[in-house]
Amino acid sequence: MYDLESKSVTKRFGSFTAVDSVSFGVPSGSFFSILGPSGCGKTTLMRMIAGFENPSEGDILIKDRSVLNDAPNKRNVKMVFQHLALFPMMNVGENIAYGLRCRGDAKSSIGDKVKAVLDRVGLPGVEEKQVSQLSGGQKQRIAIARCMVLEPDVLLLDEPLGALDLKLREHMKIELKQLQHQFETTFLYITHDQSEALVMSDNVAVMNAGRFEQIGSPKELYDRPVSGFVAGFVGDANRWAGRIDRVSDGMARVQLEGGDVVVATSEGAGDGSSVEVFVRPEVIKIGAGPEGSTLSGKVDSLLFNGANSRVLVKTPSGKLVEVADPSGASTLAEGDEVQIHWDPKRALAFPGEAA
């Protein structure tokens, strides 16, 4: 059973199609993310679910019931806004009680519910505080509590971590995931940050130019992207443009720009078509491998970043290849001649936009 279902939803603004025939279903109690670059239509999609925009075509169902004719205040979908939109003229308790009062809950029960939800988000006893007295992470939790107190069918989150600093963002990712577990509510999360989507979600939809490119678990998206866009957008990847020489057994020989030849897994691209080859940095190892998945070059620079350290290798044709160096412990020095290789199955070729 889906808590939220979108059936070929399309939204056009004049001649511009912001959301183009998007269909998906979010299973009950799961964490679903829509990941895409800014301007891809993900916010428009969320606003349609919340009811602030009407789809040009298609249908939106919540708990198997179409909500297209319901006004925003009648839909049991609550939203955490990008800048949270906590009401500055109310204190924390009033902010949370607002929805309950709109719903017409008995006065006596409101206080208890506010107290209970504040306990659940780990901020007991802050009812009397002003919103401006809270830290960024606390505001975040209040914004979620304000929605969750109403027990929505679906909670929409519109890049709520965007305004936080990096350290707090990392922390809130884990916390959001825990909150979602705790409330057992369906979360629909919108972001342009692939790491947020990968870390928190059960399922991720990658959106580009109004369309869903792929829906899948974070691992599927990472290991088996279906398009060049997904491969490039989700996770880091080395990206080389080239042209297919010949395809055999699903493996393509690709003539890269600059002269190197590599072998890559390819589906659907025929001989002579221009492609882009994606190889993730952590797939590449130092040392020589079989022909077609080995490049030689010179160490251009060493980028230390703890577990995310990289070695940049410059090939004779001028390509800069990122190679993962997890421990940051390689004995290489700048200027060293090296060979690098990878498992050809993990080099993916997709039809290129332009080659």
């Binding site: 205040n73 009401f87 607002y98 709109c102 929605c147």
Partner: protein
């Protein structure tokens, strides 16, 4: 060296302001306060005392005029708020970004014409032989000319028209700062249009509402031209009394007393208004 230039620029900036406050506001008010406490005991003979204030209290027509002025000013303020709020909301929230400046400018156009000319504009419209009366006769709605001037309604309309702009400007600037997401959050959490208006828009706009109301009330209570021209002899506006005491009767002591009383009374009304709405002057000036 640096702090010296800082100090110098501070002094240069503050001097005109201080001069303005001291020379044009504090000194004259102190002078008027002083004059109001002079009792005339004989030709060019004065004693210190509160006789002028006692005279004011002893003459119902005086304090009735003051009360009437205050009530009508409050009414004008409320009407200006009721008319100004939708206009301000439209300019700040509904109108497209590009047309906002134009709409705002349209509001300012009446200010390009002097008060006096605008008041005469109303007279041209409303007098017995004026445009409206003529039009109504021509349409056959009324049989003979009607005099639309010289009644309270006309005075109030004229005053609202004069001051409504001063209500709109502060309202536009506060509403302009309101994030649309607040309204959407208000609806999203289940609020009806009315709830969102009452619990989100109005509280958010409160600083603008309060400052707009203070400005319009003070301007109305202190206005002279509009009530006199549109209300005629019946207007019984308190500023008219002040004018009469100073100019017609040459009774500066009584005029000064009235002036002090007008200031005290309007200040009291503003204070009471702030108390009633639970606002403080500080929050209207500096938001958050």
């Amino acid at each position: 060296m640096r702090s010296d230039t800082g100090k110098l620029s501070l002094i240069l900036l503050m001097t005109p302001f201080a001069l303005w406050i001291v020379l044009l506001i504090i000194l004259p008010q102190a002078g008027i306060g002083y004059v109001s406490l002079q009792e005339k005991v004989g030709p060019r003979q004065y004693e210190f005392g509160f006789k002028n204030y006692m005279d004011f209290l002893g003459e119902p027509i005086y304090w009735n005029t003051l009360l009437r002025t205050a009530w009508m000013s409050i009414l004008v303020t409320i009407l200006a708020l009721l008319i100004g709020f939708p206009v301000a909301y439209y300019i700040a929230k509904i109108a497209k970004k590009q047309s906002r400046a134009g709409l705002f400018l349209l509001c300012l156009i009446p200010l390009w014409v002097s008060d006096l000319v605008r008041a005469f504009g109303w007279i041209v419209l409303l007098r017995e032989t004026g445009i409206i009366s003529g039009a109504l006769q021509w349409l056959g709605i009324i049989g003979e000319p009607v005099e639309l001037l010289y009644n309270d309604m006309t005075v109030i309309i004229g005053l609202v028209y004069t001051v409504v702009l001063f209500m709109i400007v502060p309202l536009v600037s506060t509403l302009d700062g309101m994030d649309d997401a607040l309204l959407e959050a208000g609806y999203n959490l289940g609020g009806s249009r009315f709830t969102v208006f009452r619990r989100i828009i109005v509280p958010y706009a409160m600083p603008g509402i309060v400052s707009g109301c203070i400005i319009t009330f003070m301007l109305t209570a202190g206005s002279y031209l509009t009530p006199i021209l549109l209300g005629g002899k019946n207007s019984s506006w308190f500023t008219e009394q002040i004018y009469n005491q100073f100019i017609t009767r040459y009774n500066w002591e009584a005029g000064a007393t009235f002036g002090v009383l007008l200031l005290l009374f309007t200040s009291f009304v503003v204070w009471a208004g702030l108390r009633l709405t639970g606002q403080s002057l500080a929050t209207t000036v500096a938001k958050e």
